[in-house]
């Protein structure tokens, strides 16, 4: 995905002695330039990752000293109903969210890719939700999902459907979260698809049309294969985002009703910061991170196998 070519800038330089002095100076300055960024990386990424791993084998509540407990946290994880619930909820959410996201952003991307007047305006309108904060969006949608005064049920009422009490019912709360996150995530994925579509050469379609291929066949045999890398990217990012669902569940339902929308990150947050079980929460975070890493590696692997690297 990210190529970092090792080709150093090739520049003419003076005689050897002068050159090596210059190079030494250049290197010294380079280290000065990267020091702040690398120091922050050490303190706020590398060190925390190491500490998290260490903490996951301990009992720590900030107030009393750290106590080593070995694998106890991980053992406890196996029987933790709530964490399991959080992981299952996230899985269920991802199962709904990711395919819907692909279907909607692909079809809207295709629609906006047609050369028709007004497409720039629609693109702006569709992207607008992506720039609002997840908290403000979740706040407004909570109001819209109100049973009696909510605009969603009122709109459903005009077509004769009696809407549910979205956020107060454990059957519908997760669907409400799916709707909100789709609404917010669509815009950027549409743009990613539009970028992908701009890379499909037009002559392929002309040739196919000459051969008498129907629009559906052109979509099936030209557009879809050409968009494989883009689709992979959208699936990948959506999955990683889905695993870390928190904001909307926190604002709209506080993980409820019951534990219908409690998510893995929600469990980590409440274990770590409301109940101060930091060791245990670290073990949970580690398990989640490993899951995310596996998904990342697996999908990268699958993508390479499909010959698209």
């Amino acid at each position: 995905m990210l190529h970092s070519s090792s080709a150093a800038p090739t520049r003419a330089a003076g005689p050897p002695a002068r050159r090596s002095r210059l190079l030494r100076h250049e290197a010294r300055m380079a280290y000065v330039f990267i020091t702040p960024a690398m120091a922050l990386f050490l303190v706020f990424t590398l060190l925390p990752a190491v500490i998290a791993f260490f903490l996951s084998f301990t009992d720590y509540d900030i107030l009393t000293p750290i106590r080593w407990v070995g694998l106890a946290n991980y053992q406890r994880l196996l029987t933790d109903e709530l964490f399991r619930r959080g992981v299952l909820n996230v899985g269920f959410y991802a199962l709904l969210y990711v395919p819907l996201m692909i279907a909607l952003s692909l079809s809207l991307g295709l629609a906006l890719n047609r050369r028709r007047p007004g497409m720039a305006l629609f693109r702006t309108l569709f992207y607008l939700p992506a720039v609002t904060s997840s908290i403000a969006a979740a706040t407004v949608w909570s109001w819209m999902f109100q049973k009696d005064y909510g605009v969603v049920n009122q709109a459903l009422g005009t077509v004769g459907i009696a809407g549910p009490n979205w956020l107060a019912s454990s059957d519908t709360a997760m669907y409400a979260i799916v709707i909100v996150t789709l609404w917010q995530g669509l815009g950027s994925n549409i743009i990613i698809y539009l970028a992908g579509l701009s890379g499909v050469p037009g002559y392929l379609y002309e040739a196919a049309a000459l051969d008498g291929a129907s629009p559906l066949q052109q979509f099936r045999y030209i557009t879809l294969p050409a968009l494989r890398t883009t689709t992979f990217f959208v699936v990948f990012m959506s999955l990683i985002g889905a695993f870390q669902l928190f904001d909307q569940a926190y604002v709209m339902t506080q993980g409820g009703p019951g534990y219908a929308t409690t998510t893995a990150v929600y469990q980590i947050y409440s274990n770590g910061f409301t109940q101060l079980r930091m060791g245990y929460a670290s073990a949970q975070a580690f398990v989640l991170a490993v899951a995310i890493l596996c998904v990342s590696l697996l999908s990268m692997r699958l993508n390479r196998d499909s010959g698209l690297g």
């Binding site: 520049r11 380079a30 990267i34 007004g118």
Partner: protein, 294 residues
């Protein structure tokens, strides 16, 4: 478009196409509309049955309430300062490191860059707890002793938000990619003129980065403005609340004050929306270029 023949079938097809787009646009815009409309309605009209799609009377009382019932101006100030500090830090540190990784020769360049880049792969949830502990036990700050005991360290300060993200891997990566596209000749010319490394960077290459810096600045501002979970963790002093946390303060005991809440939501959404409308070309271009979500 030019060769479109207006047969009846084409007219039906194009009408359906636009009807579909207008429907989707309406759904996308509805929450904004409903937020603004609710914020302008007097209390009596907010809970009217049937619903009022259009406000009968317009009032700004909820905006006044939003800022008086809750110290929302303070939250607004907090979020602005932290988002702007984040932008400044990322632009400076990101372009310094990006420049070095792109244009300077030194041992370990590729390895160090890959290390920095790897932080993109570490999910934020892993570092939540350790970073909290590190900030809390920062030596000699916030009443801490040399070993980091005793006080609250950097918690409840702006630094708790700004520092961990001050030189994001994305900022370094993004600036490096940009510096790589600039020509080498400039550097040689500068060298011949005897310019120092710093001058070459500051006076010659950095001024060419306007568009890249603008894009990065917009993204960083948006990210900083929208921070929620992390703010929830490192701030427990109500005076330090951000606007995103502030939205929570309109609900007490399952009773929600929807008028002021919607007014506050409008205020929270406006800064990024305004930035977006002025800079939408940058936004959409860099999303399709980097695939980064806003």
């Amino acid at each position: 478009m030019r060769n479109l023949k207006w047969t009846p079938w084409v007219i039906v097809r194009e009408t359906l196409f636009y009807a579909m787009l207008v429907f989707v646009a309406a759904v996308m815009a509805l929450p904004f509309y409903w937020m603004v409309v609710t914020s302008l309605k007097p209390d009596a009209d907010i809970f009217s049955d049937p619903i009022r799609w259009w406000p009968q009377r317009v009032t700004f009382e909820h905006y006044v309430q939003a800022f008086t019932v809750v110290p929302f101006a303070r939250y607004f100030w907090n979020s602005t300062v932290m988002a702007l500090l984040g932008v400044v830090a990322n632009l400076i540190l990101g372009s310094l490191a990006g420049y070095a990784f792109a244009r300077m020769r030194f041992r370990g360049r590729e390895g160090l860059f890959r290390m920095k880049l790897a932080s993109l792969l570490i999910p934020g949830v892993v570092t939540l707890i350790p970073t909290f502990i590190i900030l809390r036990s920062f030596p000699l700050i916030g009443g801490n002793d040399v070993l980091g005991h005793g006080g609250h360290g950097l918690l409840n300060t702006y630094w708790a938000i700004v520092l961990p993200g001050a030189a994001g891997a994305f900022a370094v990566f993004f600036m490096r990619q940009f510096f790589r596209t600039l020509p080498d000749d400039l550097m040689d010319a500068a060298r011949v003129d005897g310019a120092s490394e710093w001058r070459t960077f500051w006076n010659i290459y950095l001024p060419l980065c306007g568009p890249a810096l603008a894009t990065l600045g917009i993204f960083t501002f948006q990210a900083g403005w929208n921070v929620f979970l992390w703010a929830l963790i490192v701030f427990n002093d109500p005076k330090m609340s951000t606007v995103q946390m502030g939205l929570q303060s309109f609900s007490f005991n399952h009773q929600t004050d929807y008028g002021p809440l919607m007014a506050a939501s409008v205020v929270v959404s406006l800064p990024v929306l305004i930035v977006f409308l002025f800079a939408q070309r940058y936004f959409t271009q860099s999303i399709s270029f980097t695939g980064v979500k806003g």
